[in-house]
Subunit: 240 residues, 2 copies
């Protein structure tokens, strides 16, 4: 059976302006590989409500899991929760369970649960909360869409809370064979080997180090013995 | 007049598996901001011909510029040039001008221009070459789609060759005001200020440092005096 598929939506002008370098996608991509969930698409989109709604609607219909990052804080530019609710035609408002989580965190520290902070308790009807052990304000899952924070430490904590409960698949194994020859020299034989293993993804990644050209050949697949078999063939074809 | 818009397509399984952390999008996003080209979308997609073709067709119709990265080397998994040609229903084959560039680089070094390396001279009919001062094999522009290499050093060199000739706009100016208060405290007033400057993008980015919460307020826009005016208001509302 094929592994479940996934898309990641990174929401935020700061990514598209080049102010912030993504780390959430990079983190989650590795986690999904480990879980056997095939990440097929990552998108960075701006803080625009209609764009978020349209994109969520599109990708949630095409992939088994959709993960979003960003836009669920207390400020005016935090519009993800409302945009996702719109994508599902679902009402959204302050929910008691989310409010209780904020109160339990803020009240003992003497922090007022003002109107802005209460925005973080706006959860679409029927959504399940995603625990936030870092800063209390929860994420949520609605349908196959999992809405998480943009701050990397919070995003990662939410992933750790969310991922174990998701339908996953067979972990994708990866092995790298490094050849100290340029891609152009090994390409013909490598192409034949790749064709002999249609169930594996065999990628070729050139590098140069101290003016010497080399190629990392990465073999990926869910079938361990097959990955090993390809490695043996590669080692024969391109001795170290 | 509004700035031109752009999308970036990062093509490669190694990004989606989490093996490689993107740096090309991060680099180009900053360059585009400087040039006044509004990056509205970045996508990471796998090495799948049909996905590349469909995505290029879609985004090239929606944005003024499309930049791609990855998949133009000599190996079996380098399928971007053919997939882009298919998106434009354009024939593709080894072109003399591209072949001459490869020969000029390889022949003096005694490197054979074999069939694999010749794949890098496959250019769609009518495309303009993008110079590659690092490793000779050119990128190309067809319509509004600019096809570049995935290796960061080559990608960046191609950007430097390409970008000065593109239709650009007014550079987007950015100023940051840092407030040593949490987002939840400043959100209400910040929202009012953002509403007073509809032509600016005012983003709010929380951070915590040594257990103290703070917020970076980032003001972005093409009108310098307006950006400055917003900064003055922010400094009054949230004194340092």
């Amino acid at each position: 059976m094929a592994n479940p598929t996934a898309a990641i939506l990174l929401i935020g002008d700061e990514l598209l302006s080049g102010r912030t370098r993504d780390s959430n996608m990079f983190f989650l991509a590795q986690e999904l590989t480990r879980l056997g969930i095939d990440l097929k698409l990552a998108m960075m989109i701006p803080d625009e409500a209609q764009t978020i709604t349209d994109t969520v609607r599109d990708v949630s219909g095409r992939f088994d899991h959709v993960f979003t990052s960003g836009g669920i804080g207390p400020t005016h530019d935090d519009i993800t929760a409302d945009a996702v609710a719109a994508a599902f035609d679902t009402p959204i408002g302050v929910r008691d369970d989310a409010r209780a989580l904020l109160e339990a965190s803020y009240t003992p520290r003497g922090i007022e649960l003002n109107e802005s902070r209460l925005r973080m308790a706006r959860i679409p009807d029927g959504a399940a909360l995603i625990d936030n052990p870092v800063s209390a304000a929860p994420g949520f899952s609605i349908g196959n869409v999992h809405v998480m924070a943009g701050v990397p430490r919070v995003f990662e904590a939410m992933c750790h809370a969310l991922l174990p409960g998701l339908a996953s698949g067979r972990p994708v194994l990866s092995q790298t064979w490094t050849v100290m020859r340029g891609e152009g020299e090994i390409a013909a034989r490598l192409g034949e080997i790749a064709a002999d293993f249609p169930d594996l993804a065999i990628g070729s990644y050139p590098f140069s180090k101290d003016s010497v050209y080399g190629t990392n050949i990465v073999v990926r697949g869910v079938d361990g013995p097959q990955v090993e078999a390809a490695l043996v063939i590669l080692a024969e074809a391109f001795p170290a």
